[in-house]
Symmetry: D2
C-alpha cells in the first residue's frame, strides 16, 4: 500500500514515521509547501518521496492520503482526495462544522472509500484498558465523567481551545460510553487575548442520571491531563501525566441507605483498596495506522470513522454556540 | 475573655482547643446535646466547662459564643447570642440565605457586637502568601481563577456540595481579588443520590476581562485541592495537598504580538523558571481565633466579618438558582 | 491507672494527649524542669498535674512512668522508675548502649515490671498492613529491604543521625522479618559539621540470601520516607510521605529461567498490576499506649519490649563502630 | 562526514537517527549480524546503508565508527577501528577494565584519532544546568552527593548492576565536581539471582569534607532517578522522573553557630524558598553527536573523551573489588 502525507509541520513527521513502520505500507510520500519542512523529512527519513503541490500528490499512484493541515482546510483537501479515489486519514477535529462532515461521509460512501479520523487516544493502551474495565461493568453505572486537559499551549489561529483540545476527551467519552445519549450542552469560558476562547468549561447533560464536564485551557502554567469516571460501584482515575500508573481503580463508592428522612444518615461512603492495572505501552499512532490500513484491506468501517468524527463536531458546534451566549443551554438532536 | 462553643461534633473540638490555646482567653465552655460528645471533650480537655442546653449557655457570663452547628440553625443561634449581648463566631457558610445574613449584620451593628465568619483559609500561610504576591502585582492582571475542591466527602443533609465546599474558594477569591466585581453566575451539576447536587461547576463572570470557575464534588475517589491564578505576567498554582511546596509561581505567560493578521503568529508563549516561596505553617484556626479576639479588644471589624460572609452567600444563592435551571445565567446586583 | 510523663519538650505533650485519651488511664502527671514547658501543658490540658522534679514524681502514686528525655539520660531515669516500682515507657532509642539495655531488662524482670520501648512505627496502620502482607507470604522470599529516611532535621546533641533516625527502620525490619538473622553490619557516612555523622548508609548482611540498607540523613533539602521490600514474587513500596496510598504492592518480579549459559537470556522480568491496600489511619501513639496499658493489665510482654529495644541498640552499636572505621565489616553475635 | 554504527540492538537505532539528524554527517552505515535488526533499520530509515560483518565496515570509506555492542567486546572493536584509522564513539562503560582503557587512549593518541565515550547525561539540559549552578558557587561547598538509580531493569549478562547503571552517575559526579579527588571506595550489595550483583551501594570518600553515595538496583518495582547535591549554602535535587521540574534548588542549609559546648544549640537549620530553573529539552544524544563531530572537525579533545571514560572505569573496578569483600575499603591512586 502506498500512502501520501499532506502537511509536514508538527504532526506530519509522526505520521510519516508510523506509516513507514507499518508492514503493509511499501512507500510513503510527503507533501508540504515549505522547503524547510521537506528537507527536515529528507534528513531524518532519506527514502521518503516528497512534493510541494497537493495537486501533484493527487495524481500519484497512492492508495490513501493522510491530511495533517489546519482544520479550516480539512474539508477542501479531504474532498479532493476522495474525489481522486483515495482513502483518507484526517487529523482531529474532522471538519470545521457538521455539514462538511456529513458531505464527506456521503461522498466516501458513494465512492466506497474509507474515512479514518485520527482520534488518537482511542488507540492508547490506557483508553483501551478503561474500555475493558467499563465493559466488564466493574465501575457500576457511570454517574459522571470529568476531564481536565490544560497546559500552556500553542494558540491555534483558526479555532478556539475547545476545538483544539476537547476532541480528545469527547472522542474518549463516546468510545467508553456509546450508549449514553447527549441531550444538551452548556459551555462557559473566556477569550483573554483575541476572539477565540483560551479557557473553557463544557458541561454535558445526558438523557439519564449522568453528567460530563470538560475543562480545557491553553493558558495554564501546569500541564494536567486527568479524567475521572465516577461509578456507583467503583471509581476510575486516568492521569496521563503519570509515567507508569496511568489508571487507578478505587474501590470507593457512595452508598444510599434509605430515603425515609432527609435528616437521617441516608448517604454514606466507603473506601477500600485501589489497584492500578498494567497498561500496554505501544505507540497509539502505530495502532491507529494499523486500524486504518486494516479497514481498507478488510473493507470495513474503521473504529474511528467519519461518523465518530461527526459526533465530536456536533458537540463542539453546540459548545461554540453556548459559550458565545454565556452558558446558554443548547439542545443536541 | 470567656468563650462558649456551641456544637462539639466534628469541628467544635478544634475550636475548643484553639480558644484554650489563645492567651487572651481565660476559660472555655462547651455545649452539645449529645452526652458522648461532651464526654469526648472531658477526656481530652479535663478543665473545660460543659452544658447541654444552649439557653443555659446564653445565661452564662461569656464574652463570645462560637457556633459550630448545621447551617440551617446558624441564624437562630446567632440571633439569640447577639440578642443576649455576645460577640459571635459563626462557621461557614454564614447563613442559609442573604436575608438572614443581612439581619444578623444589622442586629450586630445595633448591639455594637462583632460577627466573625470562619473563612478559615483566609488565615492560612498559603493564602496569606498568595495575597502578598497578588498585592505586589507580581502576576500582572489576573485573567482567570480556577479552583478544584473534590473528594469522597460526607454528604451534608441540609445543603448541597456547593454550600459545603465552595465557601472556602469563594472567600479566597474575594480576599485575593477584592476589586474584581462579580456580575453573573452560571452553575451546572448533577444530583445523583438525592435532591442535593453532589457535583457542581460554578462559572463566575466579572465586569472586566476575568473569569473564575469552581469545581466542587463530594463523590471523587481522589482528593484534589488546587487553585490556579492565571496572570498576564506570571501564573500561580496553590496545591493544598502538597506537604511543603504548596505554592508555585511560574514565570510563564502568553504574549500578544500583534493583531495584524489572524493567520500570523500573533500569540506566543514563554516559560521560564518556577519558584516556590516558603509558607508559614501556623495553624489557621489559631490565627482566626487571634483575629476574632483582637477585633473585640480593639473594637474593629474583623478581617472576615458578616459582610464577607454575606458576599459568599450571595454567590451561593445565585449558583443554586442557576444549577436548578441547568446553567441559566444569574445576574448579581 | 495513673501515668507520669517525664520530659514535656517536643514529644512529651503527644504522650500526655494520648494517655489522656486512653480509657484505662484516670489521671496524667507531667514533669519538666522548664516552667515554659509546664505552662504550655497547663494551657492546652488544664486538668493535668505537673511537677518540676523527677524525685517528686517517683514518690507519687503512679502505676507507670513514660520517659521522653534525651537518650543519654534514659538509663538513669528508667532505672530510678523501675527501682521505685513503676512500669516504664521509654522513647527510642532505648538506651545509649546494649549494656544499659540488658541491665534494665534484668531489673524489670526481677521487679516483675513492664518495659515498653516506643518503636512507634510498629503501631502504624501502614506497618501493620505490611506485616499482614509479609505473613501471608504474598511477596515470596524477601531478597532485600531498602529504607530511606532523610530530611533537614534538628541535630541531636548527644547522638549521630543513625541513633536518631535509624531506630524507626530497624524496628520495622525486626518486626516484619523476625526470622532473618543479622550477621554483619557495614556503615559509611560523613560528619560535615561536628563529631556526629549527619549522613549515613548502613548495610546489613543476613545469614541467607537477603540484604538490607538504611539511608539516613539530617541534611537533605527534601523529606523522603520510603521503604522497598523486594520479594521473589512481588515487591512492596511504603511511602510515608503519601497522604493516602502509602503502600503499593507491585506484581513485578525477576524470573530465573536457567543457569545453562551465562550468555543466554537466563534472567527475565515481568511487570503486572499494582494495588494499594487501604490503611487504617488511627494514630499510632494511641495504639502504642493501648498496647502498653494492656501489657500491664494482662501481665504479658508488650509487642515492643526491652528485648526489641535491645536488638535495635545492638545494630546501632555495630553501625557506630563501622562508620568510625570507614565501612569496616562488624560481625553481630 | 561518514559514520558507521556497529550494533543495531537497543541503543544503535538511536545513534543512527541522531547521526542522520546531524548537519555535518552526509551518510550513515549500520552493521549487525542479525538480519532482523538490519531490516528494522531499513524499515524506519530507508536510506541507511547496511552490512553484517564488521570487517566489511572497517574497509569502508568512513570517518568514524560508533560502537554500541556489549561491554566485553568494546576493546576488540574499538582497537580494530582505531587501527583502521577511524575516530571512535564508544558506549558506556568505556571498557571492561582500566588497562584496556589506557591502551585505547594510547593508541588513539599515536594515531591522532578521537575517542568519544558516550556519557550521555553530561549532554542533558538538566546536567548542564546543574553544572552552571555549581560553577556559580550558588550551593557553596558541596558536602555530599547522593544518587539513586533503580528500576526493574534488564539484567546484563556480562556485567553487574554497578557497571550497567553507575557509569551515568559517576560521569555526572566527575563532570560537576572535577576538583574533588576520590581517595577510596566501599561497596556493599547482593547478588540474588546469579553471580552478578543486582543491588549495590557505592560509598565514595574524597580527600576533603565531602562524601558521595550511589545506589543502583536492577530489581526495584519503581523507577527512581534522583540526585541530591548538598551544599553549605543551598541544596539541589535533580529528579529525572519529573517531566518538567527536573531541578529544584532549595535555599535551605545547616548553620553552625559555635563549638563552645556540645550541649548548646550549636547546629541550626534554615529553610527558605525553592526555585526550579527552566531546563533545555534538546535530546542529549543529538548534542553528544554534535560534540563528537565538532571535536573531530576542530581537532580537539571532546568533553567526554577516553580520559573521562577511564576515570569511571577506575571507580567501577574499585567498587567491584570492594563488593566482593563486603565493603572493604579500596584506595584509589
Amino acid at each position: 500500500m502506498k500512502v501520501g502525507v499532506l502537511g509536514l509541520g508538527y504532526w506530519g513527521p509522526n505520521l510519516v514515521r508510523n506509516f513507514l513502520g507499518n508492514n503493509n505500507v511499501s512507500s510513503v510520500v510527503g507533501c508540504d509547501e515549505s522547503e524547510s519542512r521537506r528537507s527536515f523529512i529528507t534528513n531524518r527519513f532519506p527514502g521518503v518521496g516528497l512534493c510541494s503541490d497537493f495537486n501533484d500528490m493527487l495524481k500519484m499512484d497512492l492508495d490513501a492520503i493522510a491530511i495533517a493541515t489546519p482544520v479550516a482546510t480539512h474539508f477542501k483537501f479531504a474532498k479532493a482526495a476522495l474525489d481522486s479515489g483515495k482513502h483518507i486519514w484526517v487529523e482531529k477535529p474532522f471538519t470545521s462544522n457538521s455539514d462538511q462532515a456529513k458531505k464527506l461521509i456521503e461522498l466516501a460512501k458513494k465512492k466506497k472509500l474509507k474515512i479514518f479520523v485520527d482520534h488518537t487516544f482511542v488507540y492508547t493502551g490506557a483508553v483501551r484498558k478503561m474500555k475493558e474495565i467499563v465493559e466488564k461493568n466493574e465501575l457500576g453505572d457511570i454517574i459522571y465523567f470529568d476531564s481536565v486537559r490544560v497546559n500552556l499551549g500553542l494558540f491555534q489561529h483558526d479555532v478556539n481551545v475547545m476545538w483544539d483540545l476537547a476532541p480528545h476527551d469527547i472522542s474518549i467519552l463516546n468510545y467508553l460510553l456509546p450508549n449514553k445519549k447527549v441531550v444538551a450542552i452548556a459551555a462557559n469560558g473566556i477569550a483573554n487575548y483575541y476572539d477565540h476562547e483560551n479557557v473553557a468549561h463544557i458541561s454535558v447533560y445526558f438523557d439519564n442520571n449522568c453528567f460530563a464536564h470538560f475543562h480545557v485551557n491553553w493558558t495554564s502554567p501546569v500541564k494536567i491531563r486527568r479524567m475521572i469516571l465516577g461509578g456507583k460501584e467503583k471509581m476510575l482515575v486516568f492521569d496521563d501525566m503519570e509515567n507508569i500508573e496511568k489508571i487507578k481503580v478505587y474501590d470507593s463508592a457512595v452508598e444510599m441507605k434509605t430515603k425515609e428522612s432527609i435528616h437521617e444518615a441516608l448517604v454514606q461512603y466507603r473506601t477500600g483498596d485501589m489497584y492500578s492495572p498494567k497498561v500496554v505501552q505501544t505507540e497509539a499512532l502505530a495502532l491507529g495506522v494499523e486500524e486504518f490500513i486494516a479497514s481498507i484491506i478488510e473493507d470495513r468501517k474503521p473504529l474511528t470513522s467519519g461518523l465518530e468524527g461527526l459526533q465530536v463536531i456536533k458537540i463542539l458546534e453546540a459548545a461554540d454556540e453556548s459559550v458565545k451566549n454565556k452558558g446558554k443551554l443548547i439542545k443536541i438532536s
